[in-house]
Amino acid sequence: MSENKILQELLFYSGLHKTSPDIAHVEIHGNKVLGANLVEGLIVKSESFSEGVNIKIEVVKEIKNPVRFCFGLIPENGIQKINIDTVIKENASAEFFATCTFPNAKNIQHIMNANIIIEKNASLKYFERHIHGPEGGVLIVPVTEVFVKENARYSTEFELIKGAAGVIKLDYKAKVERHGIVDMKARIFGRLKDKIYIKESAHLKGENSVGVLTSHIALKDEANAIVENEIIADAAFARGHVDCKEIVQGKAVARAVPIVQVNNPKAHVTHEAAIGSVDSKQLETLLSRGLSEDEAVDLIINGLLK
């Protein structure tokens, strides 16, 4: 397949084929940067190595339109390692929209290592959508370490709803300074023999820092998920909340372990964990419309994960 054809497929699956000069974007297939468009205030440097790409990103001012990152592999087999160092400079802000596309995966590894520094008064909103084929066959290892400086904000959302998840080992860590905010969310639909391991953690080090960790996981067939989200609060008036919601159907197994640790009497951290199955009334309503049980469960779960 020609590089251009691969690029078109990546963009097609990710739904990002429409663009304009004022929208920044970067497309990476395997270890090759296939396309890029930068805008003022956004500096991106990349360097390929045999199994992937090292990327350095600097945001020095407010970037208006979301920056699109398109990662992925079109073939059935392969490996993609992405190492990203991102700095959002003081007072700067950006929104990143990343898609990771593995539509034909049989044996694919996608390893993402991100180090993110959000400087004073800066903010980054990061959204990552995975688009997988129906059979799984993917090992996804997203590891992120983020430093949220004074009065800075970081929000991240990981979405894997289309296609089988495969094996996911998500590990996100954040350190938050005074008045900083971190908001991490994962929404995943596991099927077949998918194995999902989620560990989000926020260390609220500064006064008045805020951390919210949310995981909404739905499982069916023989999928398995373990969610271990953790908040540690050191400082006065630090506030945190851990929310794990899991829905299980069939022979799926879910485990949720919220961990909260408070090292300052003036900090306040709460958690909730709920594991349940699809509501029978919802299911029967859709069955009485002629949907099969599988179709009904998919529709209900897709709604719940929205």
Binding site: D279, S280, K281, Q282, E284, T285, L286, L287, S288, R289, G290, L291, S292, E293, A296, L299, I300, N302, G303, L304, L305, K306
Partner: protein, 246 residues
């Protein structure tokens, strides 16, 4: 021609007789009403015919278009053309009204959504993208349920208390859509304890304490609502021969 036949239908749960030896023939193409006091077994009857969980171990038989559906699952019955609007509609977090309406429609045409919503008096622009969740009132959910069923064009539909929760101004839309169901060839069974809803039907069945008390013309069934609970005068403890025609 009868589209649905109940033969000696009896349902016992936890030692209690919920439906007692019911024999009913439902004629195709008409609007029928099943009336009776609270707790008579009206919803139970609809749930049993739909095949809901907990209503499957009945004695007797249910024939749809002449064939037994006793051993069919809910979705198999639905694919034959039987469906229902639940007395208490379910809530679906995150499911958009337009996806909900099209869920059971075979030929998914966009304009069906607007048509169905307008039929129940809901503005498509305001409602299509909303979720079918707790942000909608009971009456709004009921109307959306009825709209979704209308879009499906089923052969037979149970509307369980179709006016419950629906405000006075909007009830007229429900009554209109009942006529539209009939026009499109759907046989309607209204499950109700409301005389206003009963008026929308061509033919009625009165049940009490799980028994069919009588069946026949709608006009004559009104005695039941006049407070006398005619023709038997014993609410919850009927003393009349089953299925008498009036």
């Amino acid at each position: 021609m009868s589209i649905l036949e109940l033969k000696n239908l009896t349902l016992v749960k936890d030692g209690k007789i919920l439906l007692s030896n019911i024999n009913i023939e439902i004629w195709a193409g008409y609007v029928h009403a099943i009336v009776g006091p609270n707790g008579a077994g009206k919803s139970t009857l609809a749930n049993t015919i739909m095949g809901l969980h907990g209503y499957r171990n009945f004695v007797g038989d249910i024939l749809f278009e002449g064939k037994s559906i006793k051993n069919l699952s809910i979705d198999e019955r639905a694919r034959l053309g039987i469906t229902m609007v639940f007395q208490e509609p379910a809530r679906f977090e995150g499911l958009a009204v337009d996806d909900f309406i099209l869920a059971g429609v075979k030929e998914k045409k966009e304009n069906l959504i607007d048509e169905a919503l307008l039929k129940v008096g809901l503005d498509p622009l305001k409602y299509r993208k909303r979720a079918v969740d707790k942000t909608l009132s009971g009456g709004e959910r009921k109307r959306i349920e009825i709209a979704s069923i209308y879009a499906m064009k089923p052969k037979l539909v149970f509307l369980d208390e179709p006016d419950s929760g629906v405000d006075i101004d909007s009830v007229k839309f429900i009554f209109e859509i009942i006529k539209d169901f009939k026009k499109q060839g759907t046989t309607v069974i209204l499950v109700t304890h409301s005389p206003e809803v009963l008026k929308q039907s061509d033919h009625a069945f009165l049940i009490c304490a799980g028994k069919l008390i009588c069946k026949g013309e709608v006009d004559k069934m009104f005695d039941y609502f006049t407070g006398k609970c005619a023709p038997c005068n014993h609410v919850g403890n009927p003393e009349i021969e089953d299925g008498k025609t009036i």
